[in-house]
């Protein structure tokens, strides 16, 4: 075991995959110069052809990844900060997500798009997006949202090995501490949720940076005698509905914590799925704890409370417990 931070876990995953498969290459702005810290020494170890700096031309280089994938490469594109994807959105939606279908299965599209979600960093509305739900509305993209160092290592490796486009949305500030990680190689299959805390009274489905907060809530409410089960879907597409429904069957109550904006969020999808397929198990309304439908303000006086904090998740847990008793 080694203690790795979230960023170090990403580095470890990328290094292993670059070493394993010569078709894998990394591409993005200042990746070779390692400006964000994911690629220390990569340029020397793997060469600047495979650790490829790009101009600031997201549509161009994301689209180039599509073409490279069609001819047998396995590009890993680093978007640096998630909203920069919008500049390349047509390439992601119209080409990367659709080519396998449009051409009747003649081509695989083994592309990994890595995008850091830097919310909570005082970088304002244009830089703080968490576009998990935005992308989830597009069929043809697999989406992972690893919350912890352990998960990001295993899921990123799975993403790189998958024959389909996978967007890895990284919770850049979601797990502030280092975590023990096995030295042996491991891969976390796409589409498998993890029950990160077992509990009996309330299910909290938590996504991305809300996972750490939900775990803290589970730990602190245990002392009050409230038993919270925390389910982390880890993969948004495909979503592991079975694990979520099984948990709600056990607890009868559901809170969904998700840093997306409320409207058409991942939380909304989880809620709608349970309201459709797990309805008879519900003993109280489903509560969503999301980011409101505002933009993200710069001022540190305004930003922090907008996300699903431990306080807000705990309040929602109390809420669904209280609501149930009024039935």
């Amino acid at each position: 075991m080694s203690k790795l931070t979230y960023t170090q876990a990403i580095t470890a995953a990328l290094r292993e995959e670059l070493a394993r498969d010569p078709r894998v290459f990394v591409m993005g702005e200042d990746v070779a110069s390692n400006i964000v810290g994911y690629h220390p020494g990569f340029a020397e170890e793997f060469g600047r052809e495979r650790v490829r700096d790009t101009p600031i031309a997201e549509a161009g280089f994301v689209g180039a990844a599509a073409g490279a994938a069609m001819v047998g490469m396995r590009p890993v594109v680093d978007m640096m900060i998630a909203p920069f994807m919008y500049v390349a959105f047509d390439q992601i939606v119209s080409i990367i997500a659709k080519a396998t279908y449009l051409y009747g299965g003649q081509t695989k599209m083994p592309i990994t798009i890595r995008a850091g979600m830097w919310h909570g960093a005082s970088i304002a509305a244009q830089h703080s997006d968490r576009p998990m739900a935005t992308l989830a509305t597009i069929p043809g993209l697999k989406i992972v949202a690893p919350a912890s160092p352990y998960d990001v290592k295993g899921l990123l490796k799975a993403a790189v090995r998958d024959d389909d486009p996978v967007v890895c949305l990284e919770a850049k500030r979601g797990w502030p501490t280092a975590q023990e990680i096995p030295d042996e190689e491991y891969v976390i299959p796409l589409g498998e949720a993890e029950v990160k805390r077992e509990g009996a009274d309330v299910t909290v489905v938590a996504v991305s940076s809300a996972v750490r907060a939900a775990l803290d809530v589970a730990d602190s409410l245990r002392e009050d005698g409230i038993s919270v089960e925390v389910v982390d879907p880890r993969t948004i597409v495909p979503l592991d509905i079975a694990t979520i429904l099984a948990s709600v069957e056990k607890t009868g109550r559901l809170v969904v914590a998700d840093p997306c904006h409320e409207m058409c969020s991942v939380a909304s999808e989880v809620s709608a799925t349970v309201a459709e397929h797990g309805f008879w198990n519900l003993r109280s309304p489903i509560a969503r704890v999301t980011t409101p439908n505002t933009h993200i303000p710069f001022s540190p006086a305004l930003e922090p409370g907008l996300y699903p904090t431990a306080d807000r998740i705990a309040a929602a847990v109390h809420g669904v417990l209280a609501a149930a008793s009024t039935r």
Partner: protein, 332 residues
């Protein structure tokens, strides 16, 4: 681009054959227009550009195209029976009926798909060229795009990327004078696209798009340069579409003069090349007629194949979303 690229006699004949094939394919499509769902953009008038460019490629080279998607894969050597079947949405279609007229393709001959979002194919072709380079193979990627597409940002980004990375890419702008109903001069701030090559430090040439040999020569030069590590080029073929933007004849178009169409028809690429083959003694009139008959027969057969083919089963709608599928809630 002073490479010696004289086509052989066999190549000259094959050029003729493929142009005839495209023309007959398109005429068949237009005659049966009501059978074909969705939109249809024909290449009639542009065959020399399609064929001259594609025949400058090897079969294992790559080609990416546009919504005007019939001529390119045929020129690259795709089987037309599967293309016709695709137009009809049949399971035997090259895309199993998923793509239709705007998205023909044939990955088995390097036709990496036509894409109907204008300008969206430029990065794909650039990436195919990057893939070649990374793999250390000498395959070239050619991208067709229209005069209208040249206004998209992807044009700029792709040419700049290909230039700084010295990619084996050839960008072929098929300038047919209009994007939909907008004249080229209303969408472009310079009188030609080729001169924009200078903004990327790459060669740029304009060529007579009705002369298949001229197109072939220009593109072959660019391909040779790309293959030998010399980097990308831009070739602008000056050509014209005879029919409406999407569909058949235009009764009285407001955006162009029918006299203009007639004028262009006087330099139709098929008779132009046919006369050259005769004049140069490559084929006799009888041999040329045989080619025509051959192609007519095979186009008829291909169309019949398409008509006789079954539609896909409804479940096919759920296939190919992913290569490694995931569960999707189904409605049938």
């Amino acid at each position: 681009m002073g490479v010696n690229v004289n086509p052989t006699a066999a190549q000259l004949v094959e050029m003729y054959r493929r142009m005839v094939r495209i023309r007959l394919f398109e005429e068949t499509a237009l005659e049966n227009r009501t059978e074909i769902p969705g939109m249809v953009h024909t290449s009639v008038g542009m065959e020399a550009s399609n064929v001259g460019a594609c025949m400058a490629l090897r079969e294992d080279d790559y080609m990416v195209g546009t919504h005007r998607s019939h001529g390119h894969p045929i020129a690259k050597g795709a089987r037309i029976d599967r293309l016709f079947a695709e137009l009809l949405g049949k399971v035997t279609g090259v895309n199993q009926g998923k793509g239709g007229s705007m998205h023909l393709s044939d990955f088995s001959v390097g036709s990496l798909g036509e894409t109907s979002i204008v300008g969206s194919g430029l990065p794909t072709a650039t990436g195919a060229a990057l893939g070649s380079k990374l793999q250390g193979v000498d395959r070239v990627a050619l991208c067709f795009f229209g005069d209208g597409a040249a206004a998209q940002g992807t044009f700029h980004e792709s040419l700049n990327l290909a230039a700084i990375w010295t990619l084996p890419a050839v960008y072929v702008c098929e300038n047919n004078a209009y994007g939909e109903w907008t004249a080229f001069s209303d969408s472009c701030s310079v009188p030609d696209i080729a001169r924009r090559a200078a903004a990327y430090d790459m060669p740029g040439v304009i060529v007579d798009g009705q002369d298949v040999v001229a197109v072939h020569e220009a593109v072959a030069g660019a391909v040779a340069r790309a293959r030998s590590g010399g980097g990308p080029s831009l070739v602008e073929t000056r050509t014209y579409r005879y029919f409406g933007h999407a569909g058949g004849a235009e009764a009285s178009p407001t955006y162009r003069d029918l006299a203009e169409v007639e004028q262009w028809r006087t330099r139709d690429p098929l008779p132009l090349h046919r006369e050259r083959l005769l004049a140069d003694g490559v084929l006799t009139a009888g041999q040329l007629d045989e080619v025509d008959d051959d192609e007519r027969r095979s186009v008829e057969e291909a169309w019949k194949f398409a008509l006789d083919s079954p539609f896909p089963e409804p479940e096919a709608a759920y296939e190919h979303v992913f290569t490694n599928p995931v569960a999707v809630r189904r409605h049938f």
